[in-house]
Amino acid sequence: MPEKVLMKGNEAIAEAALRAGCRHYFGYPITPQTELTAYMAKKLPKMEGGVFLQAESEISAINMVYGVAGTGKRVMTSSSSPGISLKQEGISYIAGADLPAVIVNVQRGGPGLGGIQPSQSDYFQATKGGGHGDYHLIVLTPSSVQEMADLTSLAFDLADKYRCPAMLLADGTMGQMMEPVALPEEKESGIEKPWAVTGTQMKREHNIINSLYLSPEVLEKTNFERFERYAEIEKNEVRYESYMMDDADYALVAFGIAARVAKNAITAMRKEGLKVGLIRPITIWPFPKKAIREAADKVKGFVSVELSMGQMIEDVKLAEECLRPVVLCNRAGGMIPSVDQIIKVTKELAEGGKN
């Protein structure tokens, strides 16, 4: 076990990316993720082959990412909600051209310019598309600074493995807080990328990085093939934490900072004799549908705890197939549900269930 160091979540992401062999970063300052950009600005110019560039806009940054991704090298950009909206065009192109890249969203409250306090209101954007067209991102949601590092490292591997963009969906709290973290080992991609544009060296046909197919038959085929890959991802890459679910009568569903608060609420409720557990999605695409569905056979109801007006709750309802009531416990606009609020909503669900 490597020695633990104390780091901000944003810095842990940056350091983990470097250790995953990422030497190319393009960004634009925005609160609350700027420490990540600053960390890269400090480290990359001192590293062999390291490229840090502050782009003229989020749009340019994601297109620089597209360029590097086409060369087969590991590349990352990061931003916060309004900046991620600007990147959507590029993300759609990256998905359409089947390129691996890592995009970090340290979410803040919205819509519009919104605020700078933590939020999870980009859930729909991250999991249901964001940009135009039929595509998915692999979306990982860290719930500790340790996971900020570990899931960043994993994001690079999954992006390479499945040739698709992966997103780390964090929030302002995760980005700003410090916790002890054991940093992942140095590694490299290790995946061959014969499709990359690196110059033909006059030894092969030219490679083309492209998402344009004017023939609808051909375009449809690329979509079908991409979704076969997505099916593989859904089969292999679902990740979640099951916390005190063995004997639970009620299940909280929460990710990121909401899951941390939920655990405190569970401790308090169990002291009072209310058996509550937590299903914490670590991937929100693919969503842990099976875990929710199986829980529905055992529990009497679900509480979706979110920093949004209720976005993940739709996936929870779809997954549990109308077997149990699903209620929302939420705050929005940069506010965070409190332990007391979670207890209150869960108790209301429990009492309602008795009637």
Binding site: L6, P32, M177, E179, I257, R260
Partner: protein, 178 residues
């Protein structure tokens, strides 16, 4: 055991730095911890706060609704957070800057003119550290591993600051309330 500490004051008083010192102390002790700052424009001049949770168990939420220990460096912070402290908890007040006393009877209150003491020892911007010295003496936190933590938070570029910080800690630690 879990101790939740909330430090609050004006931006620029070193609120986040004091929190960092406690966080590094906990790390050196091999404890679990989280450190969560308030962030944004308020870091410059407005109210700043920092939540530090230190525990023998993995830390749940890093957000502190009801601190065991409240450290305040201005009046608005005392006004805002006094009622949130857990019964039986402790409030540490920089009495150079906060005119009033703690109203609650179910918490322990400690007063130390940290800003004045800091000026007296030639470390006028280390009132926050003087306060931490007092906290280490009178709260459930101990002084152990303080030196290790200080080494980590004081910039290597300014080694002289290490001695000055240590002096500030001692000044707070050895202060006897009148």
């Amino acid at each position: 055991m879990t101790t939740q500490i909330l430090i609050a004051g004006f931006g620029g008083q070193g609120i986040l730095f004091s929190g960092k010192l406690l966080a590094y102390k906990a790390l050196s002790e091999g404890k679990e911890l989280s450190w969560l700052p308030s962030y944004g424009p308020e870091m410059r001049g407005g109210t700043a706060s920092c939540s530090v949770t230190i525990s023998d168990e993995p830390v749940g939420s890093p957000i502190i609704d009801n601190p065991d220990v409240l450290i305040v460096m201005n009046l608005p912070s005392l006004d805002r957070y006094e009622s949130t402290v857990k019964p039986g908890g402790a409030i540490f007040v920089d009495s150079s800057l906060v005119g009033r006393k703690v109203q609650r009877k179910d918490v322990e209150a400690f007063y130390i003119p940290a800003t004045k003491i800091a000026q007296d020892i030639g470390a006028s911007n280390l009132a926050n550290i003087v306060l931490i010295g007092k906290v280490l003496k009178d709260s459930e936190l101990s002084r152990g591993y303080l030196e290790e933590a200080l080494k980590k938070v004081v910039s290597a570029k300014h080694p002289e600051m290490y001695d000055l910080n240590l002096k500030a800690i001692d000044a707070g630690y050895n202060y006897i309330e009148e």
